[in-house]
Amino acid sequence: MKAKKVVKDQKTNKKEKTENMTIKAPFELEKLSNDEYILNMGPQHPSTHGVLRIILKLDGEVVKDLYADVGYIHSSVEKMCENKKYEMIMPYTDRLDYLSAVNYNWAYALAVEKLMGITIPERAEYIRVMLAELNRIMSHLLWYSAYGMDVGALTPIMYAFREREEVIDMIEGMTGGRLTHNAFRFGGFKNDLQKGFMDSLKKFIGHFNDKIDEYEALLINNVILTARTKGVGILSKETAMSYGVTGPSLRGSDCAIDLRKTAPYSIYDKFDFKVCTGKNGDTWDRLKVRMDEMRESTKILKQAMEGIPAGDIMAKVPKIIKPAPGEVYTKVESARGEFGVYIISDGTDKPYRIKFRSPSFSNLSVLKEIAIGSKIADVVAIMGSLDLVIPEIDR
Amino acid sequence: MVELILFYAFAGVIIFSAMLMVLSRNIFHSALFLAVTLLGVAALFAMMGSFFIAGIQVLLYIGAVVVLTIFVINLTKQVIGQDAPQVNEHVIPAIITSLLAACLIILAVLKTDWGTRIAQSVAQTELTDNTALIGRQLLTNFVIPFEVVSVLLLAALIGAIAIVSRDKEAEK
């Protein structure tokens, strides 16, 4: 009789334990007041843009607390990289952020080149810059269309995709890939520019600025959108810095940090462009910064197109990549912010350890700071303005 | 003939759904049955030719009262799957109230001179548009009750706002 009871107790204990484990939130359900309830946004939700789960504590429509539950598509990229040869790692960096893959390739290539001490021919640098800027435009265009969907405007996506298609076609001509290119090689670039690329680029640069005006008229300057985003989700400069927010999300908070300007890599110091910043750090400023950045990218593209020299596209690189023991950290300005690669080499053909510093992870962590006290619809608008890419968060 | 059948049909619906409303253990279902009851009453009004009253019945009682009731039910913590108790501790007051109400209705039914009433209502049906009639009556013979009701509603509104603002102050 007694033994039975003990068994029963154990059973109930076990049950309680598993029940507790399913609630992965820092705030417990018992602590909810009478007006509050928990809403799971995700893992499958139209506006998390991937497998991200945001647990919201709500009072009516007002967000009282939130917790971002990441890791649903964790695929241990960093660990996998330890078992791959250096040249085999390049495609993995594509998959981190499939929307601006080039910058991720670039950071990795820069790291290995720094370890090996390779200098890159100038033509290859120009091609890299052009590809990266095209990729940045492409990523921002996708962000623009997705943001339109987030705030309920269904038409902007079609207009942005019209130009995005043009950009992707150009990139496809350059690299053979549309989203994940894997076109960088240690010491240069995979192939030289295709015939006709310059013409299509010239055509694109010629009309793209007008198209950006059109996008702004269509969505960014819309009355409803400005009412929804101005003064909403204000991210102060200090908070942004302390959370390690980078990229357009940081620059929206009146903080002119752009690695292309502040810590120039490659040949970015040769180009004349502006670091776009916002004033108030609210959601609308972050949107505006991205729109302005597309204009600046076009400017860089124009200069690169005019200044590209003839010459080699590959430096002399040993057949087998075997860097000397040591460690290196390189960072680039991706479309989302600072992407860093940290490599420890032990002298073999595989890295001893690789660490990726991904911008979206830090950018997501600030969501809690800026979204509490706003409405459900604001959470979506704010999250969209941070421009998150989930595989890059989970890695 | 048709009217008789329709009348009994609607009366059946009204009584049946009213009973379901009281007997249902699910508070949301009660609200839905209340809507059906009121719709049935509106249908009876329409059969009597007072379309305006029927329309107002649907608009106010269902479109406003029942909707607000359901709204409040929705605002409570999820009570889905929970059976509301049908009996509470106020049994004796409830019995007294019900008996009094029943007496009132029975008295009203017995005291009414149905013959002349029906003749009157038939005569009224002849009027093509009784909306204008109601409007005139409200602003001439019944202007004082009409205004009193408006003031009452206004007082209720202000009272609601006062209660809400007091809660807000307490929160601060």
Partner: protein
């Protein structure tokens, strides 16, 4: 030939003749007359149902084509000529899909909600003046009937939100109720201004009051604009589609619905769009009145003109936020509508 022409241009007369003729024959057989009335009413009901369904099929196709035009796409163009049969294919697909009932639903509310939403929508067609004398039931409270009956759909949306036992649905239902109740008030005030001008709530009288091209859109231009905005909000379409805000609430109150039940929501949404436009056309654009073409054609032309405006709005704007929505109704729409009503009353008294 003459008869067909009259049937189109002055439908009331031949239909009335048909009615008396049928009654004569019926009386000859010695059958009770109310049975024939019943048969006539059933025929009218079936005809209205046919109009509802066919119109919904067309309006969905039209929405998709128009949105495609605005979004530099092609739109449906595979099923049938110009994709005309696409909606039918979609409907058939929805019919044969599995009807999923989640475990934790409240069965009665979950099942009855699509019906509560659809039936009032259907019932409003009874008072639409499609043409001269072509009105299924010319009630003397016409427009009041419309307001009263459409108000019932809120219960369906709330029942759907509550019965699904899903927080997204619940929020959607609550938003919808708050939205429809708040926007109903400016809507009523605007309609009241029109009723003041026409002096009757009967739909045929409202059309008659606008005869000889004295359309109410001219004296009531503010009213018409308010009507368009408020009507758009009442039928939950973008930018007022908060109850089913996809990016916030997944699908709002119809998140858990599938197959035919979902089709009812969809059908009701588009039928409501048509209804609001039809009422707008009747109240402000002179109903079926127009030169050369038969009245019924004019009715549909005007209705689809309003439909196009509403669709244009829908495919252009982002979604408004829930508190802005309430503010917009109470702080802007209501005072404007009230002012419009007062000015209308004063002008009528003076003139």
């Amino acid at each position: 030939m003459e008869l067909i022409k009259e049937l189109f241009y002055n439908s009331g007369k031949p239909l009335g003749e048909l009615y008396t003729w049928a009654h004569g024959i019926w009386a000859g057989w010695g059958a009770p007359p109310f049975l024939l009335d019943l048969i006539f009413q059933i025929i009218i009901g079936v005809a209205v149902a046919l109009v509802v369904v066919l119109n919904a099929l067309w309006i969905i196709y039209y929405d998709r084509k128009l949105s495609a035009l605005m979004q530099i796409r092609k739109g449906p163009n595979r099923v049938g000529p110009l994709g005309l049969l696409q909606t039918i294919a979609d409907t058939v697909k929805l019919m044969i899909k599995e009807d999923i009932n989640p475990k934790a639903i409240d069965v009665l509310s979950f099942w009855v909600a699509p019906l509560i939403i659809f039936v009032p929508t259907f019932a409003v067609f009874l008072v639409l003046p499609f043409g001269k004398g072509l009105i299924p039931a010319d009630l003397n409270i016409g427009i009041l009937y419309v307001i009263a009956i459409t108000g019932l759909t809120v219960i369906g949306i709330l029942a759907a939100g509550w019965g699904s036992n899903n927080k997204y649905s619940l929020i959607g239902g609550l938003r919808s109720a708050a939205q429809i109740v708040s926007y109903e008030i400016p809507m009523m005030l605007v309609i009241l201004s029109v009723v003041l001008l026409s002096g009757s709530m009967k739909m045929s009288d409202i059309v008659a009051a606008q005869a000889n091209y004295k359309w109410f859109v001219i004296p009531q231009i503010i009213g018409f604009i308010v009507f368009l905005i408020v009507g758009n909000a009442e039928i939950n379409r973008a930018p007022f589609d908060l109850p089913e805000a996809e990016s916030e609430l997944v699908a709002g109150f119809n998140t858990e619905y599938s197959a035919m039940k979902f089709a009812f929501f969809y059908l009701a949404e588009y039928t409501n769009l048509f209804l609001t436009s039809a009422i707008g056309a009747t109240l402000f654009l002179g109903g079926w009145e127009g030169p050369f073409l038969p009245p019924i054609v004019w009715f549909f032309i005007k209705t689809y003109f309003v439909v196009t405006i509403l669709m244009w709005i829908r495919w252009t704007f982002p979604r408004i936020r829930v508190d802005h929505l309430m503010e917009f109704s109470w702080k802007y729409m209501l005072p404007i509508a009230l002012l419009n009503l007062v000015i209308t009353a004063i002008v009528i008294k003076l003139v």
